[in-house]
């Protein structure tokens, strides 16, 4: 079920009403679990079995890890959980990619043998719930949290519908205890705040991401037909498309959970105001960045090692982060590029600097250009396409062949986003963004819905991050 579908707009109020009508936390959790599975099964019913499998494995291993007194046994159960979960992820997401890459390599060496392909759909959100479940097992192993004894509560933690298919990737220590809290009440301010977040998320998705996506898809899916200026414009548009798409989804998820009384972690913190790539990663997809930091970068040694090893740790973390995003060399290249830039920032010592004035503006510009440039690798359908676009940017400057009306709509929506985020960034948006007047606050919501009705792309059927 998509957040931007009519089905969800009917499903969500019904879930909320029933949720608040149920008398105890236990019943509410069981109801939310059923609703979450219904939410997922709306897409492909059979694949709910994968979530269930991952849930059973991590639940069982979590309990076994906690009950084991022997460290070796603890490690065995942890390894079992990791291997089984990552195997499922590998099979569904990476098998064909690795197989095709091996086949290509053998062909280059003159060996005509093909690795047999696996004809299956990529389960929506598999990387998200797998990482969330793996994180839980590791936390139990480390003793950060206690293993959850109630299977249904744990199953709800893995499958909680607002963040099931595209995050935020929640930590057990934040979300699990919330399922044991006393009944969430009908708190007016909290519900309205949640609804406002959802509405802003819909604006980001429908008026920014999907609107920018029209031009981006046109150019990136027909790279031969366009020239440098079109590439530059659509690379910038994609920068905002992916932000609108993913931050929009996260906001709808966080808002929906908030309406029901749950607090999910912030996933985006105005990333395009960053003045270094390092800062960008502290503001972009925070739940994934911190996941990689806690469960990969720090176990590798983090920065408490020699300089070379530190760079290696950083690079590997970002290489794997790239691969996490998709089974294609373009994602690996994107991750590698970010890894390299971060190593350079560390080496020249700008990663921890605070900038101000002109210097801040220059560093913001440089960071934005680097991030935009890297998104070309991320969005391109193949490495060949990415090379065509990058070469085209420097060699074929010509008149852009894009629809001016659509560009105008992009600019209007992006201007609203810019003003709102600039005010938030400088902490000056109080009166404008959250007016104290009840009347103005509500009118603002109605105006935003009207804007979405007029300028939103309401026929889109996908969130980019679903594929990850």
């Amino acid at each position: 079920m998509l957040f931007n579908s009519l089905t969800f707009l009917i499903f969500f109020p019904i879930v909320c009403i029933v949720y608040f009508l149920l008398p105890t936390t236990r019943y509410r959790n069981l109801f939310l679990l059923a609703a979450s599975y219904y939410f997922y099964m709306n897409w492909e019913p059979a694949y709910a079995l994968l979530i269930l499998t991952s849930t059973i494995i991590t639940y069982g291993c979590g309990i076994l890890v906690e009950k084991s007194t022997d460290k070796k046994r603890k490690r065995t159960f942890l390894t079992t959980s990791l291997v089984l979960n990552l195997s499922i992820l590998f099979l569904f997401k990476y098998y064909n990619f690795i197989g095709d890459s091996i086949t290509d390599m053998l062909h280059t060496c003159g060996i005509a043998w093909q690795v047999p392909g696996l004809h299956v759909l990529l389960p929506v959100g598999i990387s998200f719930y797998t990482f969330q479940a793996i994180g839980y097992t590791i936390d139990v192993y480390r003793g950060t949290i206690r293993a959850e004894s109630d299977f249904f509560t744990y199953a709800l933690f893995v499958s909680f519908f607002p963040q099931l298919v595209a995050g935020p990737i929640e930590r057990a220590k934040n979300l699990l205890p919330q399922f044991h809290e006393e009944q969430h009440t009908l708190d007016y301010d909290r519900i309205m705040a949640g609804l406002r977040m959802m509405l802003w998320g819909y604006f980001l998705k429908l008026c920014i991401a999907d609107r920018c996506g029209i031009d981006v898809d046109m150019v990136f899916n027909n790279v031969d037909k366009y020239t440098g200026t079109s590439y530059i414009i659509t690379a910038i548009l994609f920068t905002f498309q992916i932000y609108g798409d993913f931050a929009g989804y996260s906001l709808i998820a966080i808002g929906a959970a908030k309406v029901m009384g749950f607090r999910l972690m912030e996933n985006f913190h105005r990333p395009y105001f960053s003045t270094t790539v390092g800062e960008f990663w502290k503001r972009w997809h925070i739940s994934l960045s911190t996941w990689f930091m806690d469960y990969l970068y720090i176990p590798l040694g983090g920065n408490r090692v020699g300089a070379l090893r530190h760079y290696f740790n950083l690079f590997v973390t970002f290489l794997i982060s790239g691969l996490w995003h998709g089974a294609n060399w373009t994602f690996v290249a994107w991750g590698a590029l970010h890894g390299i830039v971060l190593c350079v920032e560390k080496a020249i010592g700008i990663s921890k600097k605070q900038f101000s004035g002109i210097s801040k503006l220059i560093h913001w510009g440089i960071t934005f250009i680097i991030v935009c440039f890297a998104w070309i690798l991320f969005r391109a359908n193949s490495i060949d396409d990415a090379v065509t676009i990058i070469c085209g940017i420097f060699t074929q400057i010509g008149r852009p062949r894009l629809d001016p009306a659509n560009l105008m709509a992009d600019i209007i929506a992006l201007s609203i986003l810019f003003v709102v985020e600039l005010l938030q960034e400088h902490g000056k948006g109080g009166m404008l963004l959250h007016p104290s007047s009840w009347f103005a606050r509500h009118l603002q919501m109605a105006l935003l819905i009207a804007f979405i009705l007029l300028f939103g792309v309401l026929g889109s059927d996908q969130f980019i991050y679903f594929q990850f």
Partner: protein, 305 residues
């Protein structure tokens, strides 16, 4: 709970007001814009009084020059072709809007296989939503597309599909150089590279499309309009059976079909095309002369009979 209900009620009430006011404003915009779509649709729904009306997609829009056809056949001509309206449903909506105030003598529908084959696609139905609520036959297509209630409830949403284009059209006049609806396409930088051989990959006949195509024909018959089907040039070689569904439909309904694609017109001239499916202005004028000649013969022949 009471506060929440009051808030929700207030938001819905203010949204209703904004929606209705916005609807009025966008109505003005869509009727006064100078983008390509707005003036054409207004012409079809309100102003059209020509003898011959051309209908179809961008291929119609870019291939038939009304002034050339008009000079040849001695009747007034208007080109109603609209970019991306790749389905018979759009043509049916336009026909109904046209018939609500004017009955032309001849309608030429530039048709494609996709008017009959492949699954029903209502993706461009939204283009016509600004004229929702005016014509019940056109509105029935919105119902078929599952959009009826959305357009009934929200007036602003009716303008969603073309809002940016309509608004930009208030300041940029893209319709200025039109020739009775024909928009000349400038000489392109690139032309199609090779003459592709399209094999007979026949999609299944869609019963809903067939039904609406039949309705289109019936509406023309009811009003005594001569309907002629045409397939304008494409830069691709096709098998003889490629348009069999269109031929069969034309035969069943006793309709004249002018097929310039199978004939191979302009196949020796890749520079005449912008891409596989579209001629640019210079070649469109050459094609229009040939089409006008053929049409004149057909009309003269039927007049003699």
């Amino acid at each position: 709970m009471k506060r929440l209900l009051i808030s929700i009620f207030f938001i819905i009430a203010s949204l209703w007001c904004i929606d209705r006011l916005g609807g009025v404003a966008m109505h003005y915009v869509s009727r006064n814009t100078h983008d390509i779509f707005g003036p054409k649709m207004k012409h079809i729904a309100v102003d059209a009084d020509e003898d011959i009306i051309l209908m179809g997609t961008s291929r119609c829009n870019m291939h038939y020059v009304p002034s050339i056809i008009s000079d040849s056949v001695g009747q007034t001509v208007y080109n109603c072709g609209i970019d991306a309206t790749k389905d018979i449903f759009s043509h049916y909506i336009m026909l109904n809007h046209l018939l609500s105030h004017h009955t032309p003598k001849v309608i030429i529908l530039d048709t494609r296989n996709e008017d009959l084959l492949g699954s029903s696609d209502f993706s461009t139905i939204g283009f016509f939503a600004p004229y929702f609520g005016i014509n019940s036959s056109s509105d029935s297509v919105m119902r078929e597309a599952g959009k009826y209630w959305a357009y009934k409830v929200s007036h602003l949403y009716r303008y969603n599909a073309k809002a940016p284009s309509n608004i930009l059209g208030l300041v940029v006049d893209s319709y200025a150089n039109n020739d009775n609806g024909y928009i000349p396409l400038a000489r392109p930088q690139d032309h199609p590279q090779e003459l592709i051989h399209k094999t007979d990959t026949m999609l299944p006949l869609d019963s809903l499309k067939y039904d609406y195509y039949q309705r289109f024909v019936n509406r023309c018959h009811e009003h005594g309009i001569r309907l002629i089907l045409a397939i304008s040039p494409c830069y691709s070689i096709i098998d003889s059976s490629y348009y069999s569904a269109v031929y069969s439909f034309a035969k069943q309904n006793n309709l004249q079909l002018l097929d310039y694609h199978s004939e191979g017109l302009f196949h020796d001239c890749p520079q005449c095309f912008k891409d596989d499916h579209h001629l640019w202005d210079s070649s469109a004028r050459v094609f229009s002369e040939q089409f006008a000649h053929d049409l004149k013969q057909i009309l003269a022949h039927s007049a003699n009979n």
